[in-house]
Amino acid sequence: MIEENWGLLGHDWAVNMLRRHIQEDAVRHAYLFTGPPGVGRRSLALRFAQALNCPQPPAPGEACRACRTCTQIEAMQYPDLSILQAEHEGGTLKVEQIRAIQHGLSLKPYQGRYRVAIFLRFQEANPNAANALLKTLEEAPAHVVLVVMADNPDQLLPTIVSRCEGLRLRSLPVERVQTFIQSRGTDPDSARLLAHLSGGRPGYALRLKDDPHGLELRTRWLDELHGILSSNRIRRFAYAEKLTRDKEETRQVLELWGSYWRDVMLFSSGSSIDLTNIDRMQEIESLGKMIDLSRARRLVMDIENGIDRLDKNVNARLLLEVLLLDWPFVGSERK
């Protein structure tokens, strides 16, 4: 089943649509793939590039995924494939990079039928860069296919969005990710946890699977969360000081805590929706019984706003102190 689907998990409709475009020789010059990170946007784009350029496709609109071209594309080392992104996640894509690629795109393909340019995380492009791409996006040379990616279309200029054919990739059902991870040789329990943590994003789950350190950190941070709940103000302040020494870490912790409190919120609402941190069910249940919905909501909101403010460069320590002060006290308060 996965094999018939360009070797991808899920997104069947998107694959079918792209395949038909190739078969009917109606390939658009610009596509926009949107969806949460780790859902499979880049994989889809790479498979699309393979299907476009594979010299001996087994069927029209398919790729053999074995020939030199296909392996090169898979490794992102194909001469007619350009991949453009900001220097690091959270960075900025600059106009010079766009100009450089525009020159390359105006040349004929070196080996394959199409030159394919993939723009990763295009929401990170600064306005000048985005504007510089407009003309190319509208009237790309005949042998060029552009694939722009973003978390969601609202992050891009409307003029960019309206020039592309949009494909919105969605998170998959958690069960599907679970079976997928399990088929990669993980035991059912951890596969289930990984699938839930990923929220239905196979790429993210795979990344987590190969990152035991990340999982350890997660356990530690969640343990610390519980430590905070049962400690007094002085300890909370001390913790805030310790944590905020590293801003990137603060952000990650806040995101994790956000997902945890969301679980508490969902539980206290009484809903049956799949929770994220299923290995912590007991704690979540006891917290969810203690806190009512509106309190839980406020806690999630505070963390969300906190992350937002952290990006706007507020004093992280102050932020965390205020945040932790609002958290409930659980258990016996030790002086």
Binding site: H29, P36, N152, R168, S269, S294
Partner: protein, 559 residues
């Protein structure tokens, strides 16, 4: 690669331009009368036909057809050349990439050469808002007095970025967003001639998605057609992530029942079925907006299908206007939340949890009350007087009603009273006054004063019947303070104060307050200065007051 449908279906005749009759009519008449101007500026949202109309006008200006009214004919060699894009005297400039002053200088150098083929040389400057300031200024002289053979057509989506000096030199035409009906009609025609099988409802949905832009609608149709299947609602939902509104109805149902668990389940049902979280949020807001419209007595604007309308009316009855407003605010925040986020549903979940509790805001209630009292004061002012105590008892009963039901039928409530007969009597309460408030121990609260301040207009009206000049004087007075049964009036000037503090006049005002608000008060007038109010306990004609009048400040008071 095939040509995109929206390029293939660019209008080639005036009649094919949809939804912009106000523009095409003017331009057609100008062509027919041979009065084509030398500079036009087309503005409007994307995909409304600016570039298309610009090309049409260019074609019409050079068309060789004998009767001007028939131009463009699409048959003469020039028309065909324009359609093919090979007409030499039509120069289309993309101002987004040629935005420097040198590009404009280049244009200025070449514009003086007479046209190669046709009668006019036509410059279409698209996306003109991207020109730099210098470029705009360099263009000004040419734009004002171009050579007789030149016509400028500027097109932009952002009219606010165009300098006023350019605006005033052009004939301005504003393109409107196309209505859903107009777009649907156009889509139907295209689908028919391109032999694209499509459901009518599906086309309406596409039109709705396009938010008034023809290009968006046609590219969406193009995209749907490229799947090769019949275009149905289901297909579109799959690709666009627009859920059936059933989920929205159920969601609002569970909000009404205050069942967050059920609401969250509905939310996730919709998301699991493939709805985009932001799209879902927008749909919820749209539905809530419809509820608000129904609540405000305008169900026609709500634009809901008939089967939904019934349910919506039920919902509208179940919520207070304030609650609906609160819900709209919450979900709108979710719809505009731009963070990509690790969990796309989170902002919706937060919004849902948020609408389960109605915040303890006093503000909206007061707002409602004032709007309802305003509704009743309107008839009062028309009839000069109305039984005043009635208005006093009304607000409480009105607050529970919708304000609009009142606003829509003030004439009837007014008709029951006979204004003329009452105008002669001094205003008399219809309901017997409860009891005269005790003079000895007046207990004022803040609310007494706010009530007074609110009803001040009415009091003035009551005064007006008895003593017109006094009312005029009161116009420059306002209640300042209510303390120990003494109302302090702050007057803007000495004249007003003197008039208002005359013994007879004070009596009149006291009586008016008594009749209107059932409060027996003594009245004291002071001058209140714009810069610094003279405190009531300072002698009004003393040194301190005088100093305050010329701008002094009280910093410290010592006994």
């Amino acid at each position: 690669m095939t040509q995109a449908l929206y390029r293939k279906w660019r209008p080639q005749k005036w009649d094919e331009v949809a939804g912009q009759d106000h523009v095409t009519k003017t331009l057609r008449n100008a062509v027919a009368g041979g009065r084509i101007g030398h500079a036009y500026l087309f503005s409007g949202p994307r995909g409304t036909g600016k570039t298309s109309v610009a090309r049409l006008l260019a074609k019409a200006a050079n068309c060789l057809h004998e009767t001007p009214a028939e131009r463009p004919c699409n048959q003469c060699q020039y028309c065909l050349a324009v359609n093919k894009g090979s007409f030499l005297d039509l120069i289309e400039i993309d101002a987004a990439s040629n935005n420097g002053v040198d590009d404009v200088r280049d244009l200025r150098d070449k514009i003086n050469f007479s046209p190669n083929q046709g009668k006019y040389k036509i410059y279409i400057i698209d996306e003109v808002h991207m020109l730099s300031t210098q470029a705009f200024n360099a263009l000004l002289k040419t734009l004002e007095e171009p050579p007789p053979h030149a016509i400028f057509i500027l097109a932009t989506t952002e009219i606010n970025k165009i300098p006023a000096t350019v605006l005033s030199r052009c004939q301005r035409h504003e393109f409107k967003r196309a209505s859903v009906e107009a777009i649907t009609l156009q889509l139907k025609e295209i689908a028919n001639s391109e032999k694209i099988p499509a459901d009518d409802e599906a086309l309406t949905l596409i039109a709705r998605q396009a938010t008034g832009s023809f290009r968006d609608a046609i590219s969406l149709l193009d995209q749907m057609a490229s799947t090769g299947e019949k275009i149905t609602l289901k297909n579109i939902h799959e690709i666009l992530g627009t859920a059936a509104s059933q989920n929205v109805l159920e969601l609002v149902d569970s909000i009404q029942k205050s069942q967050p668990a059920e609401g969250l389940d509905h939310l996730h049902e919709a998301l699991d079925a493939g709805t985009d979280s932001r799209v879902l949020a927008r749909q919820i807001v749209e539905y809530l907006r419809a509820l608000l419209l129904i609540k405000l007595g305008n169900p026609d604007q709500a634009n809901l299908p008939r089967e939904t309308l019934k349910q919506a009316a039920k919902h509208a009855g179940a919520f207070s206007a304030r609650h609906i407003l609160h819900m709209i605010r919450e979900f709108n925040a979710a719809a505009t939340d731009l963070r990509g986020g690790w969990q796309p549903a989170l902002s919706l979940e937060l919004a849902l949890a948020g609408v389960m509790e109605l915040p303890e805001e006093k503000q909206p209630v007061v707002l409602l009350q004032t709007s309802s009292t305003r509704a009743t004061t309107r008839p009062t002012s028309q009839a000069t007087t109305m039984p005043t105590s009635q208005t006093e008892t009304m607000p409480t009963s009105q607050a529970t009603n919708t304000p609009t039901s009142q606003a829509t039928n003030p004439p009837t409530s007014q008709a029951t009273n006979t204004p003329t007969s009452q105008a002669q009597d001094s205003p008399k309460p219809v309901h017997p006054p409860k009891e005269k408030p005790t003079l000895t121990a007046p207990k004022e609260t803040d609310s007494d004063f706010t009530r007074l301040a609110k009803e001040w207009k009415k009091i003035k009206l009551a005064v007006k019947i008895v003593n017109r000049p006094l009312e005029a004087a009161l116009n420059s007075c306002r209640p300042k303070e209510l303390k120990n049964g003494i109302l302090t009036l702050g007057c803007d000037n000495e004249f007003a104060m003197n008039l208002a503090s005359k013994n007879d006049n004070v009596e009149v005002v006291t009586k008016a307050i008594l009749d209107t608000l059932d409060m027996d008060l003594q009245i004291k007038c002071v001058i209140s200065n714009a810069r610094q109010d003279t405190p009531a306990d300072i002698k009004q004609d003393g040194m301190v007051a005088e100093a305050l009048k010329v701008g002094g400040k009280i910093t410290d008071i010592q006994d």
